[in-house]
Symmetry: C2
Subunit: 347 residues, 2 copies
Amino acid sequence: MVSLTPRAERLLKALIEQYIADGLPVGSRTLVKQAGLEFSPATVRNIMSDLEELGLIRSPHTSAGRVPTERGYRFFVNTLLAVKPLNTEDVASLEDRFLADQDPQQLIESVSGLLSQVTRLAGVVRVPRRAGAGFLQLDFLRLSASRVLVILVTQDGQVMNRVIHPKRPYSPAELQQAANVFNSAYAGRSLEEVRRSLVAALQRDSEDMQNILRSAVEMAHQVFAGEERGESPLYVSGESNLFAFPELSDTEKLRRLFDAFTAKQDLLHLLDQSMVSQGVQIFIGAESGYEALESCSVVTAPYEVDGQIVGTVGVIGPKRMSYDRVISIVDVTARLLSGALSHGQPS
Amino acid sequence: MVSLTPRAERLLKALIEQYIADGLPVGSRTLVKQAGLEFSPATVRNIMSDLEELGLIRSPHTSAGRVPTERGYRFFVNTLLAVKPLNTEDVASLEDRFLADQDPQQLIESVSGLLSQVTRLAGVVRVPRRAGAGFLQLDFLRLSASRVLVILVTQDGQVMNRVIHPKRPYSPAELQQAANVFNSAYAGRSLEEVRRSLVAALQRDSEDMQNILRSAVEMAHQVFAGEERGESPLYVSGESNLFAFPELSDTEKLRRLFDAFTAKQDLLHLLDQSMVSQGVQIFIGAESGYEALESCSVVTAPYEVDGQIVGTVGVIGPKRMSYDRVISIVDVTARLLSGALSHGQPS
DNA sequence: CCTGGCACTCGGAAAGCGGGAGTGCTAAGA
DNA sequence: TCTTAGCACTCCCGCTTTCCGAGTGCCAGG
């Protein structure tokens, strides 16, 4: 990576902070005044020129000030940024928000709203892939002759359900029996294991399989199929906060961005990506690799249940965002969420 | 209501259709050419002048063409619009979309996406208030010493669940027993009845109540409380389609609109309002009574389960929308949805 | 009552015009 | 060698001006 003189670093830092604050290209004169530098605008211009050669800043046009490039932001967050820990009352106010909801599913959902409110940007939450969770219980409930409700419960209290239409009617007793067989066979295994086992069972010659169990397997398989093809476990909140930023007000960009929010595909990939490593991750502009996000930055942090990373929380905003604040908030939120999910309830 | 000469009606109809088509104020000359009228621009101007006095159209400024006012649109949809029934292949393609999903809950959710796709506007769906549905079964599942998962199933196959934290630990056997008592007491009653009965039971002196049943009641009550305060049963899709309309591209309006989409409160009220009467309803601009929707029109139709209105589907777009097309689509969709929900599965 | 004609109005695009902010360069001073 | 003041230059931005054309309202003749 590039190395800069201390002075140049100081200058770059001041410039980026200024630009983050008001979004206007910043020139040498204003920079000197604003940052209280002890050297003259001319000197600043020289240094700026160097920074521009290094690709850290650029001028939008000949006679405007400079704005940070993506490389500039990257350098800024990598080496210039002192992430100030959130002051205690901020942390406390965040903590308060975590006590309100007890249901883990709801809690997780609410976090995206929480993030968007305190950062005034868009908040996202990637909820755990259920396939990894432990299987607890399966229930078959007869709704009518042709419709059976399958309810699948995981050990962490998540519930999936699905109405299926079996090929022949079953009596409640049969259904009960099927569920029992199923539950005793798979109790405590992970959903992924259950799934693999099911696939194997279905491929095996099943002539000698009891009809009822076979149905149970088929039903459960349908549940997994439904899981598989989507209901994408991703929540986005506060999208409309992004209207406030003039650099995003180009209608076409906005449309792309909102399409990405609803399509969710790209966001999912991005958040999954950030699940592999621990701690806060930052994607600046094109770094995310998705066109729709190219004028945005994304700050993410994975959260855990009992030491195991299961999902990601994050914030999406313009590249010009208060990284220090956002980073702390995302970090603390991920920690708090991990805590809230790991040990039952506080009281 | 105002009455117009046949010629004026024809003119107004042509004008509005033209304006709907391209969104430009339409002048006398273009109107004559476009609509193939057999009288001259001057005559058209005279008639337009009359229409303007009646408040059906207006000029944005002295020398632009005319655009419809809200009254104009209203008159248009009330008396000028011949809702052409959808041609059969369109209906068929809609029907196809209803076969894919079988789970009623999922089906209902998917309809908003369907509507937004075929109209290229925003689709909304108000899902049934679950309180009216019939109670089928309650289950208590022990997740840990301090956490119990409550699962409540209605007769139409909807599942609600919630994790609660009882004051003292219960054994699986106790939970099972509690569920049994509860289920035999309330099987088949409507949720509303169950709820009322619960409240009464809780108020009654409960000293002599078995501790376990009391807990069951409390748990179930918590489930209802969760139901009560929200999880607003409303789906919106295709919001980003609205970016395409220049008349909505004012950032401030857009922000308001999207805030309304996420707050949902106003939309809920509006859709509830349209549940009271049968058939398609149309709210043009300020008619909806909500500021955020003042440059939009909303077309809604209630849907039923077994003859009973339970929810509403609808479309939100600019006032300048193809009412005939949208009305048919919303109408057919509501009917198809009613059909799909009323009798099990087709095959 | 319709229609062609005509003067008029007004918005919007293009063009012109400072002013100002900011730059790069140069030359002098530390 | 580095800093700084000075200066010419550039180019955006906001302002006005101009011009064009679409559209109107009105009038007078069919």
